[in-house]
């Protein structure tokens, strides 16, 4: 089987350590941001954007998805993004209906 073959070359540690460094740096930025006086929704958008960047780094490098076949990436990621977008669309509507439903 293809994946049982032991890799002939030694995978370098450095790229992983660099990604780890970035993850720690982004975490630090988030903590500093929490103590700034920002509008709640602005803070939410910035924090979520930073978290998505961190998630992308983990998925691409630690979970190795950057080096997998594109077919795997295209099978997994669009489905996840689509479901999350659908939840953003539908959930607030559900809350609205809760308050506006016939009593």
């Amino acid at each position: 089987m293809a994946n049982d073959v032991v890799h002939a070359h030694v995978e370098p540690k450095k790229p992983f350590m660099i990604v780890w460094g970035f993850l720690l740096a982004f975490t630090g930025i988030e903590v500093i941001l929490a103590y700034q006086q920002l509008d709640l929704r602005v803070m939410l958008v910035i924090l979520m954007s930073l978290s998505i960047v961190k998630a992308a780094l983990i998925i691409s490098y630690f979970m190795h998805l950057r080096y997998e076949r594109p077919s795997l990436v295209w099978t997994l990621m669009p489905a996840l993004v689509f479901v999350i977008v659908m939840m953003f669309v539908v959930f607030p509507d559900g809350v609205r209906l809760f308050y506006m439903r016939p009593k």
Partner: protein, 214 residues
């Protein structure tokens, strides 16, 4: 066994070749695809909870902001521990692929220690909050939903961490005994990174957005 077609491309021909994984269409062993599919489904579960929480948090007029500097520091340390445990599991997978069995087991155990530390610090935080009177549908500061959302989200995540620690332990033991191979270590690594990934969203949403800034 492979044969060449008219265009000169190689195709697997025996049934074993086609079904043993590692070729088409994803070039991964079936268990790795299985873990990825599970991760996507679990990510969707967490997304549902997180989106519901974020919406409630932002639209609520009197959400408590109880996390003092000590709590934020504790949660930041927990984040650093979990990120470091992701690096150790990456090193474990790397060692496993080089067939360095003792080294891989060592890195896996380091990852488990990180997970256990995370759990301990988190339980400490829980006990502190419960002591201050935060229960599922009541707390002394504001909207009753705070307790329910906090304990549900962090509790579900902690459950995943604990299951991960046990899972990694089984893989470490089995890989050392040559019962499991490098693919199994890699698959367990994927699960662990997912657990870390969820925390990347939970930490800012639950802790940083409810930090006591005044």
């Amino acid at each position: 066994m492979a044969t060449e077609d008219m265009m000169g491309s190689l195709h697997a021909t025996t049934e074993a070749d086609v079904w043993s994984g590692g070729t088409s269409p994803y070039a991964v062993v079936p268990k790795k695809l299985g873990m990825w599919l599970f991760i996507v489904s679990d990510a969707i579960t967490f997304s549902a909870l997180i989106i519901a929480y974020a919406y409630t948090r932002v639209s609520s007029a009197s959400w408590p902001r109880p996390f003092e500097g000590a709590s934020i520091a504790n949660a930041t340390v927990m984040t650093i521990i979990l990120l470091s445990s992701s690096i150790t599991v990456v090193m474990a997978v790397r060692a496993a692929k080089m067939d360095a069995r003792a080294s891989a087991a060592k890195w896996l155990m380091a990852t488990m220690v990180g997970g256990i530390l995370f759990d301990v610090l988190h339980i400490r935080e829980w006990l502190g909050l419960i002591n201050e009177g935060v229960v599922l549908f009541k707390n002394p500061w504001g909207v009753p939903m705070f307790g329910a959302s906090f304990f549900t989200l962090t509790g579900l995540h902690m459950t995943h961490v604990t299951i991960g620690v046990v899972y990694l332990g089984v893989i470490a033991w089995g890989f050392n005994k040559r019962k499991y191979n490098a693919d199994d270590v890699e698959v367990s690594g994927l699960y662990w990174h997912f657990v870390d990934l969820v925390w990347m969203f939970l930490f800012p949403l639950i802790y940083l957005m409810s930090a006591k800034t005044a």
